[in-house]
Amino acid sequence: MTHHPDKDYAGAKLGMWLFLFTEIILFGGLFLLYAVYLRSYPQEFAAAGGQLNWIMGAANTVILLTSSLCAAMAVTAVQRDEPRRAAALIGGTILCAAGFMVIKYFEWSAKIGHGIYPGSEHLKAGAAGESVFFSLYFLTTGIHGLHVLIGAALLGWIAVKVKGGRVNGGDYILLENGALYWHLVDLIWIFIFPLYYLVL
């Protein structure tokens, strides 16, 4: 077949954007629960939110924004047919993703060390709103972390294709869509960070 439907750029992007909508709505369910329970337990949420380490959260925000910058620059590099630079930039994104997960690991293990995790005895004994807050916190950041891992793996796979020349200046939709997915992962964190670390 001469014009394979896969090479319909606008179509491929449309499909990706539709998929991104579904991701936003998936997290939307969790944000909806956050909104309703915040209204039920404003004080408990404030107390629990104060226990989160906003410096680590801010560091992760900077890291993710940097990673998104790298991803966007990688797209430009591929458009200019600079595969080595593009692969290096994707490497930067993946490195940032790893840094994000390491910080997340320290945050989570500190909380778990204090007996704060879904279903823990400590939370069962404490205020009801606090248990709801931390259950939501672990679920939301957990599912987000899963998306970081998936996005990083996806970009790693694309980086191999960039190096091999199969993603190039003439055919880079795969990288563009991969970068779009990465921006979504970033975008969702941009909502999680203020809601859990800052506004309470």
Partner: protein, 541 residues
């Protein structure tokens, strides 16, 4: 799987590959469509069998063939099978895949490999659901709605079943985004939005609901799994959670999902009625628009499932009002179908009979839906057999009969052979009669106060329950006749070539059965899908 002796080469054999692998790894939308059709229809038959068992249990008061716990499991598995394994993927995955790309004048969907992945995800999800029935604590007994707190506490295998449905949700999302992209990007030259067949229009509206609503199902099911495995307590009042929030999340998906089930069925009927009335569809634009209106308004009415759950009165009022709004676009469709019939040259062949009974049964189901949509009447019939009767009228009488209409109308196109007309009409008459005996009695029983989801009932309900069960047998006999006649016809029946129904949409302009590439040359569309005057004397488009 190949039907006997095709007159010419077609997608069944023109690639030279006919083995099982050439089917289950095919990216051809027609092969995937048939895979979807047979797998979903297989689950439909399983669901029918379970439904018959439920009716058998309710034939007489007290324990008839199963106890309370078994009954709970059977109605749960009946619901999960019918909804998640048959109705939701059935029409879009089956006939949507078979017909839609041809109707827009494309060789295939926009993402053929993603399409194959959709089917695989569906099969994997279905397999997980099946495994959940025989492992762990046994089949789930929560009802298909998985309401907390029971679903968080029951010892049955809810987690695995929910995980299977979660996977199937991905399959629906991928089908939806594939169809939207196909309809936007791959329409043939001259195939304007105003020339899209109404079946394709309905799939377009459906696809948006699949894309925008299914993620909420995914997160809701993930929350059940977290509730059961991690003990998150988000819906547990003793831990600060609110069970009503589960119901909100569940119905934010599951009410729009009802429109995923009914919209394509409306599309099937909109395509069949003008063809068998020999008359262009009345109000094309309004039917297309009402599909989008139903999809949009239908996303805002989920709360009408929760009038007795303890929502605020304001919320009840708002949801009740919005529910009545959905009735408007639905009624637009019904009136337009009836106006199409008016002064038409109606030919009562099997697809038309199924389509006509759709109008009647859907109208009964829709009107009883208004009784449930009005909060004042709903509190009296909530969780009674009236609700069971209502949604079977809409889902089975509506979507089910439209599915049968589509089977008689479109499957011969893909086999090049057809069923015998007389047995098809006998089967239709039996099914239509049996259906009404089965479900109308349920609505009466519900009005009298018989609750749903109990294996036992008070003696005063005995007569009508017996009548209802007898109706289920008549329906089953009709179904068996229909299947034997239809599938015998598709394999060994009389040849079906050219354009015997006299349709004017693109699927009737290509060879029967279609070649893998669908169109022998790039189609150029010069007329609308219901302009029958454009048909040549030999019936070609």
């Amino acid at each position: 799987m190949i039907p006997a002796q095709h007159p010419q080469t077609s997608f069944w054999n023109d690639t030279g590959k006919t083995g099982i692998a050439s089917w289950i790894f095919s990216t051809d939308h027609k092969r995937i469509g048939l895979l979807y059709f047979y797998s979903t229809f297989g689950f439909f038959l399983v669901g029918v069998l379970l439904g018959l068992l439920l009716r058998l249990e309710l034939m007489a008061p007290g324990r008839t063939i199963m106890g309370a716990a078994t009954y709970n499991a059977v109605f749960t598995v009946h619901g999960v099978t019918m909804i998640f394994l048959f109705i939701l993927p059935g029409l879009p995955g089956g006939f949507g895949n078979l017909i839609m790309p041809i109707q827009v004048g494309a060789r295939d969907v926009a993402f053929p490999r993603l399409n194959l992945l959709s089917w695989w995800l569906y099969i994997i999800g279905a397999a997980i659901v099946l495994v959940s029935l025989f492992t762990g604590g046994g089949p789930p007994d929560t009802g298909w709605t998985f309401y907390v707190p029971f679903s968080a506490r029951t010892g049955t295998n809810v987690t695995l079943a929910v995980f299977g449905v979660f996977i199937i949700g991905f399959s629906a999302i991928l089908t939806g985004l594939n169809f939207i992209t196909t309809i936007h990007r791959l329409r043939a030259v001259g195939m304007t939005w105003g020339r899209l067949p109404l079946f394709t229009w309905s799939l377009y509206a459906t696809a948006w609901v699949q894309v925008l609503a299914t993620p909420i199902l995914a997160i809701t099911l993930a929350l059940i799994m977290a509730e059961r495995t991690l003990g998150t307590g988000l819906f547990d009042p003793t831990r600060g959670g609110d069970p009503i929030m589960f119901q909100h999340l569940f119905w934010i998906y599951s009410h729009p999902a009802v429109y995923i089930m009914i919209l394509p069925a409306m599309g099937v009927v909109s395509d069949i009625i003008p063809v068998f009335s020999r008359k262009p569809i009345f109000g094309y634009k309004m039917i297309a628009f009402s599909s989008l209106a139903i999809a949009a308004a239908g996303s805002l009415v989920w709360g009408h499932h929760m009038y007795t759950s303890g929502m605020s009165d304001t919320a009840v009022l708002v949801f009740s009002f919005l529910t009545f709004i959905v009735a408007i676009p639905s009624a637009i469709k019904v009136f337009n179908w009836v106006s199409t019939l008016y002064k038409g040259s109606i030919s009562l062949e099997a697809p038309m009979l199924f389509a006509l009974s759709f109008i009647l049964l859907f109208s009964i189901g829709g009107l009883s839906g208004l009784i449930l949509g009005a909060a004042a009447t709903d509190v009296h019939v909530h969780d009674t057999h009236f609700v069971v009767g209502h949604f079977h009228y809409v889902m089975f009488g509506g979507t089910g009969f439209a599915f049968f209409a589509a089977m008689h109308y479109w499957l011969p196109k893909f086999y090049g052979r057809r069923y015998a007309e007389k047995p098809a009409i006998v089967a239709w008459a039996l099914m239509f009669t049996g259906f009404n005996i089965l479900y109308f009695t349920m609505q009466v029983l519900g009005m009298q106060g018989m609750p749903r989801r109990y294996y036992d009932y008070l003696p005063e309900f005995a007569t009508l329950n017996l009548v209802s069960t007898i109706g289920s047998w008549i329906l089953a006999v009709g179904l068996v006749i229909m299947l034997v006649n239809l599938f015998r016809g598709l394999w060994w029946g009389a040849p079906f070539t050219g354009n015997p129904w006299g349709g004017a949409s693109l699927e009737w302009s290509i060879p029967t059965p279609p070649p893998t590439e669908n169109f022998l040359e790039e189609p150029v569309v010069t007329h609308g899908p219901y302009e029958f005057a454009s048909l040549k004397n030999d019936g070609t488009v």
